[in-house]
């Protein structure tokens, strides 16, 4: 257990509204990631962070922004949610001790955009 929590765990929202998902870790690891999982697509990287205020885009970053103002929290924001952003969102961390670049995942947030 890498001490990762995600909030909310479930959310239903309407098209055009802003949404922020939170990922919180308790062990001060440097590297954090946001993925989305969709049927037929596996997991796809949205954004990642390599330190406080240090972030970069993944393969599906359009329509998403992130912020990391402190080590333990990594926020994912949908500025104006669309139905195509209905998905399950996973946060992950990579520890400094990882031998194989393995990442550890949170429990996920199921987001539905109506």
């Amino acid at each position: 257990d890498a001490g990762i929590t995600q909030s909310p765990r479930h959310k239903v929202t309407e098209t055009g509204t802003p949404v922020t998902l939170r990922c919180h870790q308790t062990e001060n690891h440097r590297y954090m990631y946001w993925y989305r999982q969709d049927p037929g697509h596996g997991l796809r990287l949205i954004h990642y962070s390599y330190g406080v205020k240090d972030t970069d885009k993944g393969e599906v970053s359009d329509g998403y922004s992130v912020s990391r103002s402190k080590t333990e929290d990594f926020l994912l924001t949908l500025e104006s949610a669309t139905s195509s952003q209905t998905s399950v969102y996973f946060c992950a961390i990579r520890t400094e001790e990882s031998s194989y670049n393995e990442q550890f995942f949170g429990p996920g947030t199921r987001l539905t955009v109506l």
Partner: protein, 115 residues
């Protein structure tokens, strides 16, 4: 352009037999390959990994084989148990900014182990 491919969406095996899950990749720069297991309504959990300089790694019932010339890896589960029923994702590790390493995932294979 899909860099990591799992061409079998599903696999069904009998309890006690071997399960073989396959994965192909296109990028020669990947340095590690990983397998994750995912149950419904849970996050993926790390299962086993292999360095690109190795050709085999074993951990209990799980063995991963890497064939670099073919850009192919496989996960063997022996013997298969009903609790192994899950979706298995193949992933490859690639360099990213700030010393980070990002994972590129395949689409997953749903394994069903029948009692």
């Amino acid at each position: 352009d899909q860099q990591v491919k799992q061409n079998s969406p599903s696999l069904s095996v009998q309890e006690g037999r071997i399960s073989i899950l396959n994965c192909d990749y296109t990028n020669s720069m990947f340095d590690y390959f990983l397998w994750y297991k995912k149950y419904p309504a849970e996050g993926p959990t790390f299962l086993i990994s292999i360095s690109s300089i190795k050709d085999k790694n074993e951990d209990g019932r799980f063995t991963v084989f890497l064939n670099k010339s073919a850009k192919h890896l496989s996960l063997h589960i022996v013997p298969s148990q009903p609790g192994d029923s899950a979706v298995y994702f193949c992933a490859a590790s690639a360099w990213a900014q700030g010393g980070s390493e990002k994972l590129v995932f395949g689409k997953g294979t749903k394994l069903t182990v029948n009692p």
